[in-house]
Symmetry: C2
Subunit: 135 residues, 2 copies
Amino acid sequence: MDFVGHLTAHNIKPSLQRIKIYEYLHENRAHPTVETIYSDLVDEIPTLSKTTVYNTLKLFIDNGIASTVTIEDNEVRYDAIMDEHAHFKCDSCGNVYDIEMDISTIKFKKINSFKVETTNIYLKGKCNKCLTNKN
Amino acid sequence: MDFVGHLTAHNIKPSLQRIKIYEYLHENRAHPTVETIYSDLVDEIPTLSKTTVYNTLKLFIDNGIASTVTIEDNEVRYDAIMDEHAHFKCDSCGNVYDIEMDISTIKFKKINSFKVETTNIYLKGKCNKCLTNKN
DNA sequence: GTTCCTGCAAAAGCTTTGCAGAAGA
DNA sequence: TCTTCTGCAAAGCTTTTGCAGGAAC
């Protein structure tokens, strides 16, 4: 995938930090937090600061190439996959998985008068691996 | 509604603060934040502290009579309605509305192996009132 | 008298802001 | 040169923790 091209196509100048953070989001589908992104990338870019991670993620969100995943109260996670999909968080291992779904199939009652612009679906429970390991 | 009875039924001793906060959650369906709860109740209970609001909400959640609504990254809201329902937040006025729905109608792909325990659905857009006022 | 509850003050996190130096065009 | 980007340090918020006094039983 052409990360640099995707950044420039969204009016984001492709600095090293921005490329690496964007790459990281794509290659780490675990929906990382700022802390995770920072601590994983600081090895590769020793001068990296959290401020830059915050700045960069904000820039990505403002330009529509990333979004936040707030499946838990006390942590904000980030996602660079912009297709409509649900998120599943495992209570045991803490991993967050993408769940494919067709959001248009959801049927609401009494919502006719509201104009829905975005839909977020968050599931919690036990993932495959944890269910198997437990037994 | 018998708030005191509901608290004691869930092993929560009905102190004045707890009764008032629980009542407030039921009568204020706008899904208040800690700040809102505190500032609205401090008039009635002048000695109230935010610590107590935090303690009490945590107690309610642990005992299953309230839940958090994390429709936005930067604010945690609280809800005492424990039926399954979706939440809709209006971008314009900021109000959060309950949307009735039957969660069992949602169809996911490839989720068979996961054990889903809770489902949260958050919608954003423009509410009825704001759509009318704009025009 | 013992236990539990409340709320002040302080601490702990997380995120944002201001700004100066560095990098890039 | 001029603009933009980075990252340190400090500030700002929200939430948690420790603890002492108070209420309830």
